[in-house]
């Protein structure tokens, strides 16, 4: 459908409501179903493995009744496995360039790749296998499932193991589950666990000492391949050992490669384990910090079929809402730019919401500001080296008059508290401020440029307390970190210039920390009094 397009040109055949789904397995399939369910068109880029990394503890037959999955072939962009190499946000969608060199426009983009499981730990015999959703056991034999071996096994994988152990036991075999902390979950989990115990599945619990799995020398009369030895922490008398035909080990997920287009766009948004993090406000619903960009399933660290299905539904519902918003008549512009701009592109680089793009079409390039994407955090304004940007937010209007007021109308020992509207701005409603404290809500702690802070310090104000959101909980990902950085820069310089080093402080806060906020303010007041 699209391959007739020229390289590097933007396809106009794809409607604005179209979503691009990148992935090749069950996750992508569920995302496609969810997107169709909310009435959007969908295009799939078959990237990555098609083997599902999603786990559940149901049999395939009953899974057929799982609602809202379309059992149909995935529509594809091309027979080839195209990788999105570049994703450029536009006002009403994204221009996605593939490794084929072709570019197409989409309303929203979904990363729905599968990932792989970590290999069997090296100290285990080579023919131990990892537990997968499709693992089948030779029924009627003796099977061992080894969980929590190197790291905590994900409960979804644990539940699957217990299910397999149960089936093997019912079929006349012997099943052993070795674990540190039985991973079961949900209303169903306890029932499954209990059913397995009552069916005779043996759960053995080890502590710091790992179970030993030895390969038995193959002999004609024995079909057993492994000898398993474990010190049960509850009955820690002698070691318990038994022979098994097969040993499975619970592994965990890894994402080997995130397509370049997504990696570049979401560069700073991965956790310690390499999974994509999601906007904490919209926890685990697939939303990234960039509206219209979603990560569902394994790429965000989720291996549970039901959770992924729900995240897919949430993301699709959000995408529909986003497209509705993006295609609606836009309200007033949130940003304005002066001719001081030298197109250094700092703002494009720093914007956490992909709200600023460069339009290269006209002969003289222009910055474009997306009103729908912009959350008015003001990080770009604060960092613009030419102070060429302005925020038209309602909070902005008061800034200069506030600073003017500080110059004249303030009490002795006045202290200014600048707080993010999202945390301090809400927490303040539950506390009574001391008289000498003036609170000014800002759109984000990252909005507090050095010039604002300097201007404030130039007034008779005795101290400034900046209250940002906790690291990792900033609506703009790193606004709060910007505030901290600027403060430490200023403190170095202020030490010599004004002698007010201790009179400026940065703390982090959440909206449900009113009591702590009051204490922080009182402590800061005390500190300021000590300095003067």
């Amino acid at each position: 459908m699209l391959n007739s397009q020229k390289n590097n040109s933007i396809s106009c055949t794809v409607p604005k409501q179209s979503a691009l789904v990148v992935g090749n397995g069950l996750t992508a399939s569920m995302v496609v179903a969810a997107i169709k369910g909310v009435g959007l068109d969908v295009t799939v880029s078959k990237f990555g493995s098609n083997s599902s990394m999603l786990f559940h503890c149901f049999d395939n037959e009953s899974l057929m009744t799982f609602p809202d999955i379309f059992d149909e072939e995935l529509p594809t962009v091309d027979e080839q496995q195209w990788e999105p190499t570049n994703i450029v946000p536009r006002e009403d969608g994204f221009v996605v360039t593939f490794d084929s060199g072709k570019s197409h426009k989409f309303g929203s983009v979904f990363l729905a790749i599968e990932g792989t499981l970590k290999p069997v730990p090296k100290d285990l015999p080579a023919d131990v296998s990892t537990i997968t959703q499709d693992t089948t056991t030779p029924f009627g034999s003796s099977v061992c499932f080894l969980l929590d071996y190197e790291e905590i096994t994900n409960p979804s994988i644990g539940m699957r193991s217990i299910r397999m152990a149960l089936e093997n036991q019912i079929a006349g075999g012997r099943s052993f589950v070795l674990l540190r902390q039985t991973p079961v979950k949900g209303l169903l989990g306890e029932t499954l666990y209990e059913t397995a115990r009552l069916a005779g599945v043996r759960f053995l619990r080890y502590g710091t000492e790992l179970p030993r799995i030895e390969r038995l020398s193959t002999s004609v009369e024995s079909s057993f391949r492994f000898k398993v030895s474990i010190l049960d922490i509850i009955e820690s008398g002698e070691e318990i050992s038994f022979d098994c035909d097969r040993v499975f080990v619970g592994s965990n997920l890894i994402i080997e490669r995130i397509p370049d287009g997504f990696r570049n766009l979401l560069s700073e948004e991965t956790d310690q384990q390499g999974f994509l993090i999601q906007d904490s406000v919209h926890c685990l619903t697939g939303k990234s910090f960039h509206r219209g960009v979603y990560c569902v399933g394994p790429s965000s660290g989720c291996v549970d079929l039901f959770e992924t299905n729900m995240a897919a539904a949430s993301a699709a519902v959000d995408a529909a809402a986003w497209l509705k918003l993006a295609n609606a008549p836009q309200p007033d512009r949130k940003m304005s730019i002066t001719d001081q701009c030298i197109r250094c592109l700092t703002c494009i680089r720093l914007c956490p919401h992909s709200a600023i793009t460069m339009n290269a079409e006209p002969s003289r390039s222009n910055l474009e500001f997306s009103t729908v994407r912009c959350l008015e955090c003001g990080i770009c304004v604060s960092e613009c080296p030419r102070t060429a940007l302005d925020l038209n937010s309602f909070l902005e209007d008061g800034f200069s008059s506030f600073i003017d007021r500080l110059k004249t109308e303030i009490s002795e020992n006045a202290i200014v508290v600048y707080g993010c509207y999202r945390s301090a701005g809400r927490a303040i409603s539950e506390i009574n401020l001391p008289e000498n404290v003036l609170f000014f809500p800002v759109s984000c702690a990252g909005r507090l440029s050095e010039s604002i802070l300097s201007a404030t310090l130039a007034t008779p104000v005795k101290g400034i307390l900046i209250l940002g959101c906790h690291h990792g909980n900033c609506r703009s990902n790193n606004g709060t970190d910007w505030a901290r950085l600027r403060l430490s820069n200023m403190a170095k310089r202020l030490g010599s210039l004004f002698g007010k080093v201790g009179a400026i402080s940065y703390k982090t806060l959440a909206p449900n920390e009113s009591s702590r906020m009051l204490k922080l303010i009182i402590d800061f007041s005390g500190l300021v009094r000590e300095i003067y």
């Binding site: 369910g37 909310v38 009435g39 009953s62 009744t65 799982f66 609602p67 809202d68 790291e151 905590i152 994900n154 902390q181 039985t182 991973p183 079961v184 979950k185 949900g186 209303l187 169903l188 989990g189 306890e190 029932t191 922490i233 509850i234 820690s236 310690q272 384990q273 904490s280 406000v281 919209h282 926890c283 685990l284 619903t285 965000s300 989720c302 039901f306 959770e307 729900m310 995240a311 539904a313 949430s314 519902v317 959000d318 529909a320 509705k324 918003l325 999202r422 945390s423 809400r426 906790h470 690291h471 990792g472 909980n473 609506r475 982090t508 959440a510 449900n512 920390e513 009591s515 702590r516």
Partner: protein, 369 residues
């Protein structure tokens, strides 16, 4: 005052092309986080909603929860409720009816519900036309006085996770150390009122393991000299946070001990004493504080709402869903179950679940744009 006026309430614009069988609102029973997320997603998709909430404020349990950040956010997600509350309160196509309760639900032939609601203060009654009913009545925390062996209410040092949370919310963790010289020696008992067949709660409450670990981290952040032990049956933390949280706690010196002590006794020195099995031997451990990680029980209003709506409850008293695989639809058409009233859940679970509810409503009622 209690019905918040809605901005730009103009249904014509918002639900253009809506068919007869989709006239009315989506009526959401319960203004906790599940109700709020559902409302927000409905609203953003142009579907009108009304939230019926008994209390005088939105946010439910989540709004009482404390921030669990240490030097960074630990992703407890409790502050998300503030964002959702703002988003919902500024929705142009919704109604928020605080201090209101449901008193009747009648189903018409077309499958639509006529929902009678009452203002708890004035007694004034009103009728809402519901194209879909979302039950989001939440949960109740288990009362550990039922389990006398733990001496909750008898021993001063024994508290629940909710009690500890209230101290954190008020930034009064110092109250845990009345004698400030003495380091805190605190234990968490997991599965209090959960995984307990004897009291009809044979299920994992989903949130408590992570909540206890986060609380432990928060305490250690404030008082690094604290000694903390977590007694568990199984650590059941789903998702990718599990490893990070457990690793972090272990690095901070939190001891994870299998086996929950069944009885707390006062020790000779005025502390709390428990007998536990450690390395195969029964030994005595002493603590000055013990926190009972109380689980989730069905909401007290679930049975009344169940009889009003005919939406059935399951064996535990939570709302039954259509099947084990369909976690959001009630067995009855146009009735959906959101959040922890269909079974225990943590905030991320609720968020995902609410998304699924809205997606099911859009699909079932053909509301796609």
């Amino acid at each position: 005052m209690l019905a918040l006026p809605c901005k730009n309430k103009d249904k014509e614009v918002l639900i253009s092309g809506m068919r007869d069988h989709t006239s009315g609102q989506v009526v959401i029973v319960g203004g906790g986080i599940a109700g709020l997320i559902t409302a927000r997603l409905l609203s953003e998709n142009g579907i009108p909603f009304a939230i019926i909430e008994r209390s005088a404020r939105l946010g439910g349990h989540t709004k009482d929860w404390a921030c669990m950040a240490t030097d960074k956010c630990n992703r407890c997600h409790s502050c998300a409720v503030f964002d959702y509350e703002d988003l919902v309160a500024s929705s142009p196509n919704g109604e928020i009816l605080l201090r209101h309760e449901l008193f009747s639900v009648t189903r018409s032939k077309s499958g639509l519900h006529s929902v009678g609601i009452r203002n708890l203060d004035s007694g004034a009654e009103r009728e809402l036309h519901s194209m879909a009913l979302v039950l989001a009545v939440g949960f109740e925390t288990f009362d550990p006085t039922e389990k006398g062996f733990w001496g909750y209410g008898t021993f001063e040092g024994v508290m629940t996770l909710s009690d500890l949370n209230s101290l954190m919310r008020l930034d009064e963790l110092n109250k845990l150390r009345p004698d400030n010289e003495k380091p805190l020696n605190l234990a968490f008992f997991q599965c209090v009122g959960s995984r307990d067949k004897a009291i009809g709660a044979n299920y994992c409450s989903q949130y408590c393991c992570a909540a206890a670990i986060r609380a432990a981290l928060r305490i250690l952040h404030k008082y690094p000299d604290s000694k903390i032990a977590i007694f568990y049956i199984d650590l059941q933390i789903s998702g990718k946070v599990a490893r990070t949280l457990v690793d972090q706690a272990q690095e901070m010196g939190v001891r994870f001990l299998q086996g929950v002590p069944g009885e707390i006794q006062p020790s000779e020195d005025g502390e709390l004493k428990v007998i536990v099995e450690r390395n195969g031997r029964n030994v005595v451990e002493r603590f000055n504080r013990i926190v009972l990680s109380t689980g989730q029980r069905p909401s007290s209003s679930a049975s009344a709402i169940s009889s009003m709506t005919e939406a059935p409850l399951n064996e535990f008293g939570f709302f039954q869903t259509r099947s084990q695989l369909d976690l959001v639809r009630s067995p009855l058409d146009r009735i959906y179950i959101a959040g922890s009233c269909s079974g225990p859940a943590n905030i991320p679970d609720v968020a995902m679940n609410a998304g699924k509810v809205v997606s099911a409503i859009i699909r079932d009622l053909e509301l796609a744009i």
